[in-house]
């Protein structure tokens, strides 16, 4: 496989009974790329993402993520990716430090490395004063930033972000995107879903799923040209409304 392609998907399909949730999608994502994965509710995004992170078996097709085949090496994929969703973030009844230690341990980092990572991470996020505070007591924006950092604790090749900024205030949302840019700049591939269309513009490339298929895939600039509109919201509306 080409080393620069960290996700390679070909004809990936998932059916539930008669229903085809993901219908033969094909795409590639390069190292260090910020890849936006958009679609209306029910378009098949979550199902597709679950296959890519190795927690759902595809019905047919091929997919290679972080160098591993989703059919045969799902466990290796899990070790080499990070995942963060809006819903499952961190343990509210563990402190900031305990959460970091816990997830570091889950990913099998040595104790010494966890300690180092923990200090760097807390300092970078400016959480020194609340390091021993229960995560449940932190504002949502802090939790989401912490959660993102924790998803990167084992230096994964790819990080999957499922609507990471829902409900977050606009300043924190931007700080969050600055963290995404930084991670991508340092070579981590970022695979992100969002309902904020201005965030789609932050991505290097964007795919839009409609009824299980990828109906558009390009840079935001080219998509806007292709659909002759001046923002991603209109691209989305044109495609999803059919």
């Amino acid at each position: 496989m080409n080393n620069n392609k960290v996700i390679q998907v070909e004809g990936l399909t998932k059916t539930f009974g008669d229903f085809t949730a993901v219908n033969a999608i094909t795409f590639e994502v390069e190292k260090g790329e910020i890849f936006g994965f958009l679609g209306a509710n029910g378009a098949g995004k979550t199902t597709a993402m679950k296959m890519l992170i190795g927690i759902s078996n595809p019905t047919s097709g091929k997919a290679n993520v972080a160098g591993f085949d989703v059919f045969t090496h799902a466990e290796d994929i899990k070790k080499n990716i990070g995942y963060m969703s809006q819903k499952f973030a961190l343990y509210d009844d563990l402190t900031v430090k305990e959460n970091i230690t816990f997830f570091g341990g889950i990913y099998g980092l040595p104790r010494k490395r966890i300690k180092e990572k923990s200090e760097i991470l807390i300092q970078e996020l400016g959480l020194e004063k609340v390091a021993n505070t229960l995560v449940g007591a932190l504002p949502l924006g802090w939790k989401q930033k912490l959660s993102f950092s924790v998803s990167l604790i084992h230096d994964p090749k790819i990080v999957f972000l499922d609507e990471p900024t829902g409900g977050v205030d606009p300043i924190t949302r931007r700080q969050f995107w600055e963290m995404i840019y930084k991670a991508a700049h340092e070579g981590t591939t970022v695979f992100v879903t969002t309902h904020y269309m201005d965030e789609a513009e932050y991505c290097d490339r964007v795919s839009i799923m409609v009824n299980g298929k990828i109906e558009a895939l390009d840079t935001p600039k080219k998509l806007k040209e292709q659909f002759k509109v001046d923002n991603m919201n209109d691209v989305f509306l044109k495609l999803a409304r059919g």
Binding site: A40, G141, Y202
Partner: protein, 300 residues
């Protein structure tokens, strides 16, 4: 006035959820409460729908006091909470019938009010509410909140987590309801939805930052904003953040929105600086403030 809020405060133990909130919503107005999670929007909704007592202050809804006349308010308002709160194991039709009966009315009596919305979910009327898609649940919840023809409709984050297509449809529905003599108070964390309201209150950390029409709010923005673009977004943001004269630096879609702290700012100086940081293809152009710019400036 349909809603009148006077110096309302509410605390939960140490947390001040609302601090001295005052505003008024006129008859048939579509009024938006715009703010992130934790701003106090839901607490305010719960006080106005008589589900929670304020610690201080008074409020009236449809002319009734939220504390002393709570029963009258409950008959006069529709409330769609942020969390889906219908009976998951009743069908679409059963849920709607249930809410109509509770309020001593029938689906037929007020059918024209919900018709536009209900026809979209009618093909699934025998499906259990728990098995509906997000967009359909939202439409059913709106029908249930409307079935007794309320004077005031409270919608707590009806579009959170909803895709842009369904969001647009939902706002089109609200605009039509407004024509039917219903006052609407709606909250949202999506700043782009603010422009669709008649007036908005920007709210953060339990305090109102500003109240006005969306047009007036953006006009009040105190500085000239520049769209800045270059070959590398990450380096551009980092360089702008390090620039000693910056006032604000916020990524905005394909650009960075930049304001300068100097009164005699010359974009050319910034260009020279960015070039010295090895950036190229630099574009710097004036742009207009959005609601989100204003929110961030006020929340700073």
């Amino acid at each position: 006035m349909s809603i009148s809020v006077n110096h309302i405060s509410k605390s939960y133990k140490k947390v001040k959820a609302l601090q001295d909130i005052s505003f008024e919503v006129k008859q048939n107005e579509l009024f938006g409460l715009i703010g992130p999670d934790g701003a106090g929007k839901t607490t305010l909704f719960r006080i106005l729908t008589t589900l929670l007592f304020p610690n201080e202050g008074t409020a009236t809804v449809a002319g009734f006091d939220v504390v002393t006349d709570y029963k009258k308010i409950r008959n006069s308002v529709g409330y769609m909470p942020g969390k889906f709160s219908l009976y998951q194991d009743l069908t679409v039709e059963e849920n709607l019938n249930f809410f109509a009966t509770i309020f001593g009315t029938t689906i037929e009596e007020n059918y024209d009010l919900i018709k536009d919305i209900y026809v979209q979910i009618e093909p699934f009327k025998n499906r259990r509410a728990g098995k509906l898609s997000g967009g359909m649940k939202q439409k059913l919840a709106l029908c249930c909140a409307l079935i007794h023809k309320p004077k005031v409709l409270f919608l707590d984050e009806p579009t959170t987590g909803v895709d842009p297509v369904s969001r647009k449809e939902f706002w089109d529905m609200l605009k039509r309801l407004q024509q039917k003599n219903i006052t609407i108070l709606v909250s949202t964390p999506y700043m782009d939805e603010a422009a669709l309201c008649d007036r908005i209150a920007l709210i953060q950390d339990g305090k109102i930052l500003e109240i006005d029409t969306p047009e007036a709010i953006v006009k009040h923005f105190p500085k000239q904003i520049y769209n800045v673009r270059a070959n590398n977004m990450y380096q551009l943001i980092t360089s702008l953040n390090e620039y000693q004269h910056n006032h604000s630096v916020y990524p905005f879609g394909e650009f960075v929105h930049y304001t300068d702290s100097r009164t005699d700012f010359n974009p050319n100086d910034l260009k020279v600086y960015l070039e010295s940081k090895n950036l190229f293809n630099i574009e710097i152009e004036k742009t207009k403030a959005t609601i989100e710019d204003t929110f961030m400036e006020l929340a700073k």
